[in-house]
């Protein structure tokens, strides 16, 4: 032991732990980076949303809440938001239920289980843009297998214009989205189910509990934290849905499949209404942050 060591031995803590300033100094770079990456773009968007930046203008004039007023009065925004929420409300439960059923199916050992799991997960590793293109080809009225299969079933050639007719375009997007992202739910829930306490399950079985009772009383509570996070991630993804819609319909026909992300892209990067788009970004960011915080709180994850 040297003369310098007594402090360390005395407290049993690192030498810097007792010095508040030093601690802050260590944390400061990380906080700075987080603020720079996370908060600065948001604050910048807030500032831009109060201006009239558009086109290639390098500086704007302050126009107060004009962009927010315009946003509230813009029926196209609300329609796009409605469509996004509808898609979320239909796709999310479908992906969850299908993913869960598949995960439960693969809980027991089956022939070629690993191969099938790998095949099922495949769509989730494809780029969403590529997946959208694949589905555009699959749903092609002339060469796509989808219409041909329906034709075989109905017994006569059938021309369904999946990406042209408004009532079909929504389903086309839904099919593509569920196909690609059900595997994400599947793989997460497969891992969660594998960690359910086997002893509890065996005990319930010995006690004569039925399958549904076991599922709702033991399995579901056990996987709930993981399931909650998976649902949250997918809900956020679905709210931001862009790629599949862009590749399949570009928001058309008309605006019939325009989601909020498509709307933002068109307004921000095709029409160059920079400040108007920034106002929408700010509102959505606030709403989504509140929703996520509430969800995490409810799931007791962010304690």
């Amino acid at each position: 032991m040297t003369a310098a060591s007594p402090t360390y031995i005395k407290t049993g803590r690192p030498f810097w732990a007792g010095r508040r300033g030093t601690g802050i100094a260590f944390v400061a770079p990380a906080i700075f980076v987080m603020l720079l990456v996370g908060l600065f773009p948001f604050l910048w968007s807030v500032a831009v949303s109060f201006q009239d930046l558009a086109g290639a203008k390098q500086s704007g004039n302050w126009i107060g809440l004009a962009n927010y007023k315009k946003l509230i009065a813009d029926a196209r925004v609300w329609a796009a938001l409605g469509r996004t929420l509808l898609l979320l409300a239909v796709a999310l439960p479908l992906e969850l239920i299908l993913g869960l059923l598949l995960a439960m199916h693969f809980q027991i050992e089956r022939p070629l289980k690993r191969l099938f799991v790998a095949l099922i997960v495949l769509p989730a590793v494809i780029s969403p843009m590529v997946a959208g293109s694949i589905w555009r080809l699959m749903l092609d009225h002339k060469f796509g297998p989808f219409n041909q299969i329906i034709g075989w079933i109905t017994g006569e050639p059938i021309v369904l214009l999946w990406v042209i007719k408004p009532h079909l375009a929504f389903w086309a997007i839904l099919i593509a989205e569920v196909w690609q992202w059900t595997p994400f739910m599947f793989i997460i829930l497969l891992a969660a189910l594998a960690n359910v306490d086997r002893e509890q399950l065996e005990a319930a079985e010995i006690d004569g509990a039925g399958r549904f009772r076991v599922f709702f009383r033991i399995v579901l509570p056990a996987i709930m934290p993981v399931l909650g996070i998976a649902v949250l991630i997918r809900a956020l993804d679905l709210f931001r849905i862009f790629d599949a819609v862009w590749q399949l319909t570009r928001g058309g026909p008309g605006n019939k499949t325009e989601t909020i992300s498509i709307f933002m892209y068109i307004r921000g990067f095709q029409s160059f209404e920079t400040s108007y788009t920034a106002a929408l970004v700010v509102i959505l960011l606030i709403v989504l942050s509140l929703a996520v915080t509430l969800a995490l709180k409810r799931m007791e994850i962010a304690r």
Binding site: K142, K165, G252, P253, G254, K256, I266, F269, Q270
Partner: protein, 475 residues
């Protein structure tokens, strides 16, 4: 004696070179001047796909060989060219040197400071000496508010292509006349276009359908032409309220939707490629599309690997060409070559644009298998080389020339891109099944919003300038 000989030799030498100097064209001037930038490089914007192959396979390497300037090509999908150019301007990176400008969007490009005035370069390098050769319909594209911002490199005009063998068939002619009380010939009105489509479909389907059209992408061009053919005006010049949902609009859009019923199943999904493929494969009897189809249906200059997707033509020598129904085809898009204000090599960029625009080089370009560059100079229409490419080339070039001379210009005001986008969405909604009047009402409401955001007075000024052009409404 020796002095006399030397003098005579010098005189003869001058006499021999003088005509060559006098005839030195804009291409030669551009090449000679560009050599001072040898070793540098320029970045050229090109439309992704076949257009870009012109720069990557032909013009780029040739320019480098002639001048020592390397050409880098940035390929952008058609609908991304304008947004990406503006984004580059916003970022101020100088990432692009030579721009590709849709003439209808030139006003927006200039208002956003995204296009460099070229007048000094034009004067310095003599491009204007060849301006008289540019078809007047396209010459107008190059300037805005009295300044030149782009040089035409592609002269687009929509053309009607029809199967002469089917139209001239005596049996068809007799049956058609009996049914419709007029002769079966290239349609003079859009009603006739629909009649012919239905007549031939009834007779030949499912092997051949009466007509094919482009229903996805670029639909605003097709609607704009029909709308004006029915007497439509885009705005009320006094109030600047949109009048696209007028009777003319409803008539034009209803007609488009109704005529689809006499075409191939799935016609609603057809784009440029599907339409071309069907025409080449002999599956449709008539269509309206852009110029390269004349060469492609004939199988001329399409041996390039890049065109391997185009079905081998079975309709060579069977295709007739006509000016679109109504007599005023849309001068749909076209392209100007411009220079970015942020370019670090503006002069070299300009010289490439001048070379591509020049009489001699542009003739080569409009005959290339790839590139989709279409005739825009009087000398192109009159070129013996082009006229002899195939038997019907002379007729084809005449239709292009006359069509352009009588054509409707694309609407060009402030924020044109937004109006075009809104129009395309409304047309697509109607094609998808929405009631045409409802679709047009929605479009008119969007147009009014756009006008309001620009400022009605400001937009009126821009619209007045455009509407005063003879190509606007052809009255």
């Amino acid at each position: 004696m020796i002095r006399n000989l030397l003098f005579t030799a010098a005189f003869l030498g001058l006499a021999a070179t003088a005509p060559a100097l006098a005839q030195e064209d804009a291409a030669a001037t551009a090449i000679a001047a560009a050599k001072q930038f040898s070793g540098s490089s320029i970045t050229v914007v090109a439309e992704a796909g076949l257009q870009a192959l012109l720069d990557t396979q032909y013009s780029g390497p040739e320019w480098e060989q002639l001048t020592g300037i390397k050409v880098k090509v940035v390929e952008l999908p058609n609908e991304e060219i304008y947004p990406k150019t503006i984004l580059e301007k916003q970022a101020g990176t100088g990432g692009y040197d030579v721009l590709l400008i849709s003439p209808a969007l030139l006003a927006d490009m200039v208002n956003n400071g995204a296009a460099e005035p070229l007048d000094d370069f034009v004067k310095k390098y003599g491009a204007d000496k060849e301006f008289d050769d540019v078809n007047p319909a396209f010459k107008d594209w190059m300037s805005y508010n009295g300044k030149t911002y782009g040089l035409v490199v592609d002269g687009d005009v929509l053309v009607t292509y029809y199967r002469k063998d089917l139209f001239e068939d005596p049996e068809n002619q007799k049956a058609f006349k009996e049914k419709y009380s007029y002769d079966l010939a290239a349609p003079k009105t859009y009603k006739e276009f629909g009649d012919i489509a239905c007549f031939l479909t009834e007779k030949y389907q499912p092997k051949i359908y009466g007509a094919g059209v482009i229903n996805t992408g670029y639909t605003h061009f097709f609607f704009s032409e029909r709308f004006r053919a029915h007497g439509g005006k885009f705005f009320d010049q006094e109030t600047m309220k949109a009048t696209v949902n007028s009777e003319a609009g409803v008539k034009a859009l209803t007609e488009m939707v109704e005529q689809n019923k006499c075409m191939s199943p799935g016609i609603e999904t057809w784009g440029f490629a599907e339409n071309l493929s069907a025409l080449n494969a002999g599956e449709i009897a008539m269509t309206i599309s852009w110029p390269p189809l004349g060469r492609w249906t004939q199988g001329v200059n399409i041996e390039d690997k890049a065109l391997s997707w185009v079905p081998k033509t079975v309709v060579a020598d069977k295709i007739g060409y006509a000016i679109n129904p109504g007599g005023h085809p849309q001068l749909a898009s076209g392209f100007l070559s411009g220079v970015s204000p942020d370019s670090k090599n503006k002069e070299a960029a300009y010289l490439y644009a001048q070379w591509m625009h020049s009489k001699s080089q542009s003739l080569k370009n409009v005959m290339r298998p790839v590139g989709l560059r279409d005739p825009f100079r009087i000398s192109h229409y009159e070129s013996p080389e082009y006229q002899n490419l195939w038997g019907g080339a002379k007729d084809y070039l005449k239709v292009l020339k006359d069509g352009a001379a009588a054509g409707y210009a694309d609407l060009s005001v402030i924020d044109t891109f937004k109006y075009q986008d809104s129009m395309s969405r409304a047309v697509n909604a109607a094609i998808g099944g929405e009631d045409p009047q409802t679709a047009l009402n929605g479009m008119a409401a969007e147009w009014d919003q756009i006008t309001e955001s620009v400022g009605a007075d400001k937009q009126r000024d821009a619209y007045k300038v455009w509407a005063a052009k003879p190509t606007a409404y052809r009255e």
